[in-house]
Amino acid sequence: MLLFLAALILFGIRAGQLVTLLTKARPEDRTDHINDRIGAFFKVVLGQSGVLRDPIPGIAHFFTFWGFILIQFGLLNLILGAFNGSLPFLGDNRIFAIILDIFVVLVTFSLIVFAIRRGIVRPRQLNSALHGPWDGFIILGLILLVILTLALVEGFEYAASNGAAWTPIGAFLHPLLGRASQQTNIIAYRSFWWLHMITVLGFLIYLPRSKHLHLMATPFNVFFRSYKPKGALPLIENLEEREDYGVSKVEQFTWKQLLDGYACTECGRCNTVCPALNTGKPLYPKEIILGAKEALFVRSGEILGKDSIYNKLGIAGIKADKTPAEKEAHHEPMIGGIISKEALWACTTCMACVEICPVSIEHVPKIVDMRRSLVMEESEFPQEVTSLFNNIERNGNPWEISNDKRAEWAAGLEIPLLAENPEAEVLYWVGCMGSFDRRNQQVATSVAKVLKAANVDFAILGPEETCTGDPARRIGNEYLWQMQAMQNIETLNGYGFNTKPETAKAEDASTENAEKTEAARAVEKLGTGTLTKHRTIITACPHCFNTIKNEYPQLGGDYEVIHHTVFIDNLMEAEKLKLTTGFDKRKLTYHDPCYVGRYNDSYDEPRRVLTVINDKGVTEMGRNRNKSFCCGGGGGRVWMEEKVGQRINQTRVNEALGTEAEVLAAGCPFCITMFEDGIKGVEAEEKMKVEDISEIIARAIEKPVTN
């Protein structure tokens, strides 16, 4: 009895300390969308949908998860059994006994799978810089011990009760245990009963400081996952009044960001998909999460404060470093120590890690929060970025070009400025790349051609448009983003584009389906004059698109923004744009831009468009849709040099070349730039061209409609 109590108290102290640490972190509200949260809990936690996406370890995990839960009931039953009691319903229920034992067998098989994976297959992503492989094996050993002792308990109980306490395993083991005396059987039963208990209790105590903390934290982490637009970074409020900007100390993360660390199962799926890591950069997304967790434990003494009961108790607390040498070994401070600055700067914010994480960990906002501290508190960032910041601030674009020249690409194309046609139904937000970059000016010209062919009443802002601030925000310069955003919001509101009064009624319009109908609705209304109050912004730049659509609302700018590929798809659907089907005979592959795909879930629309105009449809690359591999340009990376490892753009270009396609269709000006560079880099100019979807459509328009 005392043993139980001691173990439970010890566990309670450890768990209490973990929870208390979270309460010391920054607040964040994660109680919206309560129905979705409950749904996700059933699907992801009980249904294990996250881990099942990787089938072999996924199924093994499914069995272990449910086996573990059943064993807990079995355990309670055993405990009550020792006092001659039993659980209601389950206690003497043979069906429960059968199910439990089936799972005991399944868990045993799963453990073999896990052991083979860890010991023999050894996928690289399971490694961690913070500790050796022993943690995983200790856990496997402990689970095995739980299972074995349970089996033996059942076996001897069966023997001791002469078959009265029937369990499948007990009955099965009975002949194997020999014909010991009744007395021996009882002693063996009691011994293994205790061993089973001690193992489970030991597990309980070991758990808070191991990767198996996920067992407790994951259900909460999934429940408290984000339901805000995936592409929106959190806003830093009161920028001008506050003392700190971003995260330099671990306790400046929000409680949910820290819970991510507890929930991390160290499965390393994030590592397997990271474009930076997979081209030899020192960014291990998993180590960012674990690094923050470690940093939290290293600083737990300071965070909890001297008067904390957990510090006073000391003995039972989670391991924290005491001497300066130990701290040194743990690489204080967090940034530049346990989490390297190079890792933070290598991130392309492609969101592949967040997308694949089975337990809803959000890596990207954490990385950007730490970048924010480096940029705004330390003025520390890759040197190339200084001119980017200065140019955006002074010229409203990333280059040393006067913003007055923004509409020069459109000279002679008869595209009105919004100032000349303030009632235009559609604003084409050209973006800096479309306005100034020679290659992407061709894309802008094609977009304009497509809009004209569909008789869309549209205009551009010209010099009134200025950089959305997206690269600045992703690099960590929240201040510059806010300045740019506020300026653009003022301009857009001035022309009456703000939709807030109308969207307020349909607040939940952020899901994929609602987005589709939103675009379809916009297209339906074209030419009917009903758009005059509620108007649409379209853009060929996914980065402009994402920040205006998902982030400007944080500053009161709510707009209907549609990516041009989606808009074109809807124009075709509504037959406002009639094209020759199968006009393009070239073999074609499509690259999902991160900010269209993973950020905003538009995978089908671009493919539908391409399938109409191309007679072979889309030949997919191995990594497509939500597994698309970044071009290397996101997160401000396009403005930084890529000095370490292989080039991300070339890696993706090689993958595209592998499909033997002649055309790499894209929907993002940065992807186009990165891929054209990449194609030059691998000397494949003869083999493959990069084209924006609008460019292919523009060519189709010039062909007479034959169907």
């Binding site: 508190e377 003025s379 960032f381 200084t386 910041f389 200065n390 002074r394 040393e400 201040y479």
Partner: protein, 261 residues
């Protein structure tokens, strides 16, 4: 130690096509975007670096110009200067390089400057005469093209860029130090810097405060006159080498011809 950095607000050299007024023969400064001279950003950064290295020192940004130059001064403060003084007076309009040097020298003398930083030249007028002028008026040494600066006791020791390397030279203090372009990375202001700049001491002084007469400065006091302005001849087109296997060889030869290799 009292350190000063002389700065200037100029038409943004990156986006503005400089226009000259045919009547006054001067640069048009109205209706263009004005910024802190990008060259000065490096100079301020060099000065901040030295201030922090020496310790127990103050860095003051000074400028002569219209009240609108305050924006450029704020940038210097955001970057890390401790305070800023703007010399502004209607009578100063039309001052030449010599006058600018005399006016700045008057302030620097009054303030008791130990080290005075200047850019080699401004990015608008490009006369390059002000730093030398200040040293002359104040009767102190000028150290030019510094790429590394140290204070040793009561001496300034710099590494000075020369065509084939650098010289180490020293001088007594006070001294004027001009910076070799490209030697110091410009500091990008932190948020703390930007917010703090609003609270840092900023003062504006007039000619009278410096004990100068209006007749000595501006158009009236100018000894330098712009006689005529003209369009620069378009540069001849460069040579394009097409790579047929020995482009590297040809480029190397070309560079050798100009002793660049």
């Amino acid at each position: 130690m009292k350190m000063f950095v002389c700065i200037k607000q100029v038409p943004d050299p990156n986006t503005t096509v400089s226009k000259l007024d045919p009547n006054t023969k001067r640069l048009v400064r109205n209706g263009v975007s004005l910024v802190l001279d990008p060259g000065d950003e490096s100079t301020i950064s060099a000065a901040i670096k030295l201030r922090d290295k020496v310790g127990n020192s103050e860095l003051v940004a000074v400028s002569m110009g219209p009240a609108s130059a305050q924006e450029a001064m704020r940038r210097a403060l955001a970057m890390g200067a401790d305070r800023a003084i703007l010399i502004s007076d209607p009578a100063l309009a039309g001052s030449d390089a010599g006058t600018t040097a005399r006016v700045l020298a008057a302030l620097l003398k009054k303030e008791g400057a130990d080290v005075i930083f200047c850019s080699t030249e401004s990015t608008d007028g490009y006369t390059g005469m002000v730093p030398g002028g200040i040293a002359e008026v104040m009767g102190i040494p000028q150290l030019t093209f510094a790429r590394e600066i140290n204070i040793e006791g009561q001496k300034a020791v710099i590494k000075r860029v020369i065509p084939k390397g650098y010289q180490t030279i020293e001088s007594s203090l006070p001294a004027v130090i001009t910076i070799a372009s490209g030697s110091f990375e410009a500091i990008y202001p932190t948020m703390k810097g930007i917010m703090g700049a609003k609270r840092k001491p900023y003062s504006q002084v007039s000619l009278a405060d410096l004990g100068l007469e209006a007749s000595q400065v501006g158009e009236a006091g100018a000894r330098e006159q712009v006689l005529s302005i003209g369009t620069a001849e378009a540069r001849a087109a460069g040579q394009i080498i097409k790579d047929d296997g020995n482009a590297a060889q040809q480029i190397a030869e070309f560079l050798q011809r100009y002793q660049l290799l």
